[in-house]
């Protein structure tokens, strides 16, 4: 990672606890015109330093809602409750106000989502979006410096001619490049923890692999931690250290990737793992 | 700057007026509605003029209430066919040209240049002015107006503003090949010998007059007149009550009380010959029978109409012609539904007469709609179904009146000459272009034709009385309401007298 990037938490680096994020009993309820829904019902999970924690589960089981709930990113019609949300260096953030959360977001926790085009502002240049980020966190970085930092960040995520990207707009990028830009933005302020919500879904297999390599490199080389939401068991198997399996808004199984995937205990996990087609084998189809 | 109490921009010599519309042009030869006559009245000087000192409370200024204008004096020949006028000497137009007989000659020649002009077609014609030689020059300051027969209205016709005298020397400067009568120039400019001249004019928006320094008479208190178009009646009333204007034309009837109660202004009520009528197409079968018309007339409760819609500011029309033109006319149309039913039965239409009743809010006014509704209710009570129809376009409405395509309609009529004979001729003689109902009665025609060529006097009055009997018998037009001359006027403005021309003598107004 570039030396130009700001590392505001450097002083706290020595006493970073083993656990970077510890969530206890997180529950979310959302009021909708059709009634109240509870997509997340008491989730516990923790991310340790230097690891990639995978979160799997079928569509709608509450994966995205869980991580949005942690960052208080859900809309005003939602209620998030938790016994505790410990974030290294910030203590329990479960009672944080929106204003306090602003300091956490982007700085302590970076966030990458599935649709890179949707994540970038279509009207502003990429450069401006880097600068807005600096401004928002009051880093006191000038426009010039911001550009230099951005150039370095883009270089860091493997973009060949970063100047051209900086001066352009989101729609001029390919999907893989746009996702790289998003990752660069998410890591500009060197957050020790990254949330990635299906960062490669919809990308081509080859590009997908590049992006996964990139983010796993960011964790490995720079001592970060990451929470990676995916529904691709291949991704879990290849990139994660530990995995959390969610079902119907609850965590049904948690453990090291090897344990969970080779010897799943929960019936849902078993079904999930059994449903990956293996040539020559009859599919484990449970209707 | 207005009168009243509010902010006063200019001096008190400025008179501000709100009219419902202002003229789009000023050429006296091109008929463009009443506001045009009023505007022309402001600057055009006539040979004779109405004498406001003769005004009374119940009748309008008559045809004889004239005084010298540009003519210092006049003589009428024995046979009543020659009017010799001695022109005032040293009278100068706003351009400094002196009035002489040639100006008079040219002015009349101009009036006859367009045979369809109001002057040639109606006014001078009904005063029997000889179209072949209307005026003869005697000397530089004496002219003679030639009539083909005696006329009672010769002088009042000459007092009508569009029959005024133009400064021919100046006007002729603006003559071109395509425009031999300088119509283009006169459309926006004045060229006469009156107390005022046109200062500026914005067609349809406003007109400004200012004192003519060369005026032969006394310098008036009012030295500038601004008239602006304010089409909305309540807005006009508002301007008057707030003191922004000195006078308003056509005040909204439903706000007259408010105006009277306001601190700044009052409603001037003076006699006039304006009447609101229920007119018919007499060619229509159902309405051809006089008994039906009489029945309709008796069915309508004029008192109630006057009390509600007109808030008591008008009078029920219970005489065949405007009472302001002649006192003591026979009474017609007394409210008597029983009689109405009886008449209908006699006419054989007692079971269900249906008529179409049209109205336009442009004439008689915005209240026409309610007037139509009241008339409809009254007619319903005697078994006549009136199918009321609003005609949104005033132009459409006037065209339908001329073409007699409407069975019955509400209308207003006001003769330009304050004379019963003229009025009878104008609206009921089969030869009159303004006989819009199509009344045609040979006996009536012959009497009125005689009246037109008879000088004022007993003989004429007797003939008129005879004609009136025919009108009473026939009720060709059912008059509903007699409208007085209503003007909303600032309380500090004195000296306003209603003129038969409809205009105002600004030079006689005083503040105080």
């Amino acid at each position: 990672m570039s030396d130009l990037s700001v590392a505001p938490l450097a002083s706290a680096a020595e006493d970073v606890p083993e656990t970077v994020l510890d969530v206890r009993n997180l529950a979310v309820s959302i009021r909708t015109p059709d009634g109240v829904v509870n997509p997340v019902k008491g989730v516990d999970l923790s991310v340790r330093k230097g690891e990639i924690l995978g979160v799997v589960g079928e569509s709608g089981c509450g994966k995205s809602t869980t991580i949005k709930g942690v960052l208080k990113l859900l809309g005003p019609n939602s209620t998030v409750t938790a016994d505790r949300i410990e974030l290294a260096g910030h203590g329990d953030i479960s009672g944080h106000s929106v204003k306090q959360m602003r300091g956490v977001r982007g700085r302590a926790v970076g966030f990458v989502v599935q649709n890179p085009f949707g994540s970038l502002n279509p009207i502003y240049t990429i450069e401006r979006q880097f600068y807005e980020l600096q401004k928002a966190h009051g880093t006191g970085v000038s426009k010039r410096q911001s550009r230099d930092i951005a150039l370095a960040m883009l270089d860091g995520v493997g973009i060949v001619r970063p100047e051209r990207v900086l001066d352009g707009y989101a729609h001029q990028l390919s999907g893989g490049m746009a996702q790289r830009v998003v990752i660069a933005l998410a890591t500009t302020l060197s957050p020790p923890l990254l949330f990635a919500d299906e960062p490669t879904t919809g990308l081509d297999a080859t590009v997908q692999a590049q992006i996964l390599d990139l983010i796993s490199g960011l964790v490995r080389d720079e001592g970060r931690s990451m929470l990676l939401v995916t529904h691709d068991l291949g991704v879990i198997a290849q990139y994660c250290q530990r995995v959390v399996v969610m079902y119907g808004g609850e965590v049904v199984e948690e453990g090291s990737v090897h344990d969970v995937m080779v010897t799943p205990t929960h019936p849902y996990t078993q079904k999930l793992i059994g449903s990956v087609p293996k040539p020559g084998e009859k599919l484990n189809v449970a209707r | 700057g207005g009168g009243g109490g509010s902010s006063d921009g200019g001096s008190d010599g400025v008179l501000s007026l709100a009219w419902s519309s202002t003229p789009t042009q000023l050429d006296p030869n091109v008929y463009t509605g009443l506001s045009w006559v009023h505007a022309v009245d402001g600057f055009m000087e006539t040979l004779v003029e109405y004498d406001t000192s003769k005004a009374s409370d119940d009748t309008v200024l008559g045809v004889d209430a004239v005084k010298p204008g540009l003519a210092e004096s006049w003589e009428v020949s024995e046979d009543g066919k020659r009017y010799t006028f001695a022109l005032r000497k040293g009278v100068k137009s706003e351009y400094g040209n002196e009035l002489d007989a040639d100006d008079v000659l040219w002015s009349f020649e101009r009036m006859y240049s367009n045979p369809a002009s109001l002057q040639a077609g109606v006014l001078l014609k009904s005063a029997n002015v000889d179209p072949d030689e209307p005026v003869t020059k005697i000397d530089s300051h004496t002219v003679r107006v030639n009539l083909t027969a005696p006329s009672a209205i010769a002088l009042s016709v000459l007092a009508y503003p569009i029959d005024g005298i133009l400064d021919s020397d100046e006007t002729k400067k603006h003559v071109t090949k395509e425009d031999p009568w300088a119509a283009d120039w006169l459309a926006k400019n004045s060229a006469s010998f009156g107390a005022y001249k046109v200062k500026s004019m914005d067609p349809g928006k406003e007109i400004r007059l200012e004192y003519n320094e060369n005026y032969w008479g006394e310098k008036p208190e009012i030295t500038e007149v601004i008239a602006k178009a304010v089409p909305d009646a309540s807005a006009r009333a508002q301007l008057l009550m707030s003191g922004d204007v000195d006078a308003i034309a056509e005040p909204p009837i439903d706000q007259l009380k408010k105006i009277d109660e306001s601190a700044n202004a009052e409603v001037s009520i003076q006699p006039d010959s304006n009447r609101h009528n229920l007119s018919f197409n007499l060619g229509d079968k159902a309405l051809a029978d006089p008994r039906v018309r009489k029945a309709i007339s008796h069915a309508i409760n004029r008192e109630a109409i006057v009390e509600s819609i007109y808030q008591g500011y008008a009078k029920p029309a219970n005489s065949p012609q405007a009472s302001g033109l002649m006192a003591g006319q026979p009474e017609t149309g007394a409210y008597d539904p029983a009689l109405a039913k009886k008449l209908l039965a006699e006419a054989g239409v007692d079971n269900g007469l249906k008529i179409d009743l049209s109205f336009s809010t442009a004439r008689p006014g915005p209240y026409a709609e309610n007037l139509a509704r009241l008339v409809q209710s009254d007619l319903k009570a005697v078994g006549i179904t009136a199918n009321v129809k609003g005609v949104p376009s005033p132009a459409d409405f006037e065209a339908a009146v001329s073409d007699r395509t409407m069975q019955a309609y509400l209308y207003s009529e006001r003769p330009s000459q304050p004379d019963l004979g003229f009025s009878l001729f104008l609206y009921l003689h089969s030869g009159s272009a303004l006989n819009k109902v199509g009344f045609a009665d040979d006996e009536f025609d012959s009497i009125i034709s005689k009246v037109l060529v008879t000088e004022s006097g007993d003989e004429r009055d007797a003939a008129i009385a005879e004609a009136m009997d025919i009108v009473v018998e026939n009720e060709p037009i059912i008059s509903l309401v007699e409208m007085p001359d209503l003007v909303g006027i600032s309380s500090d403005l004195k000296g306003y007298v209603s003129l038969p021309t409809g205009g105002m003598k600004y030079d006689e107004l005083k503040r105080g």
């Binding site: 060949v160 080859t206 293996k278 040539p279 599919l283 | -």
Partner: protein
């Protein structure tokens, strides 16, 4: 002669954007599918897979080349005969919900091919066959009167399949039929497709992104790259000994779901704007 013979098909799209160059989606593609055979098409996004699938059904007209299905050259059929021919060839799309008319009851949707091609069958018979087919694909009979929006994604895709097979077609194009489904449901749908094929020996043209799926379901695989089929081989052979460089990249990007065989990623030098993040690049 195979059931489906696609030869030298070329398709160029006018540019979607004014000023841009036209897109050559298919640059002379040839492919055949036999009765009872599943041929998979893989390749990166935009390589022309869906276009080929549509061309095979003549849902789009091609610029040149021929498509022969069961002895009929589709290009030579007039509109009426083409419609009749469609009884033999059907399609299942990736987006189950969007493929179903949201206003029609499930039963009506499934009945539609019969109503079109077998008007001789009475309502009762059609109804019977619909119920039978629904049962076959594992849809509860009660859902016949429901609207598509009231079903889950997996059920919606079953409706799509039921509709595709009810007229007993000989040839089925499956354009990523499972990629929008959850893992467990995906497996069920794949198994269903395999069963159906065994029963009626349909020919499948199976478009997919997913290597695991393809590996499991297909007999032969065609690899497409930029509008061309760069390699065609029986499944096992392709996985064991890919000949084309692009195929190798695709295979290397495949992630095994078994944590026991973690392996390093091998990048393909296709995207020139992106610096290689991994050491080994092959061309």
């Amino acid at each position: 002669m195979s059931l489906v013979e696609i030869s030298d098909v070329v398709k160029t799209f006018a540019a979607r954007q004014r000023g841009a160059d036209p897109v050559q989606a298919l640059k002379g593609v040839s492919l055949s599918v036999d009765e009872g055979e599943t041929v998979a098409i893989i390749g990166e996004s935009g390589s022309g897979k869906s276009t080929l699938g549509k061309a095979a059904l003549r849902l789009i007209d091609v610029d040149s080349g021929s498509i022969v299905v069961d002895g009929d050259d589709l290009g030579s059929l007039d509109a009426r005969r083409m419609r009749a021919k469609r009884a033999d060839m059907q399609v299942v799309f990736q987006e189950p919900f969007e493929s179903l008319n949201p206003r029609l009851a499930i039963g009506s949707i499934i009945a539609e091919p019969l109503q079109i091609h077998r008007p001789d069958l009475g309502t009762t018979e059609i109804r019977r066959q619909v119920v039978q087919t629904m049962e076959r694909v594992g849809l509860p009979e009660a859902s016949a009167n429901r609207l598509p929006g009231e079903l889950s994604g997996g059920q919606q895709q079953r409706v799509g399949i039921a509709r595709a097979v009810i007229s007993r077609p000989k040839f089925l194009v499956l354009d990523e039929p499972t990629s929008s489904l959850d893992l467990s449901i995906r497996a069920q749908v794949l198994a269903l497709l395999a069963e159906l094929q065994q029963e009626s020996r349909m020919a499948y043209l199976f478009v997919s992104h997913d290597m695991h799926t393809v590996e499991w379901i297909s007999d032969r695989i065609a690899v497409m790259y930029l509008g061309e089929v760069v390699e065609t081989a029986p499944t096992r052979q392709l996985f064991d000994a890919p000949t084309h460089a692009y195929t190798r990249t695709l295979l290397s990007a495949r992630l095994s779901a078994d944590p026991r065989d973690r392996h390093a990623y091998k990048a393909f030098a296709g995207d020139a704007t992106v610096r290689q993040t991994s050491s080994e690049a092959s061309t």
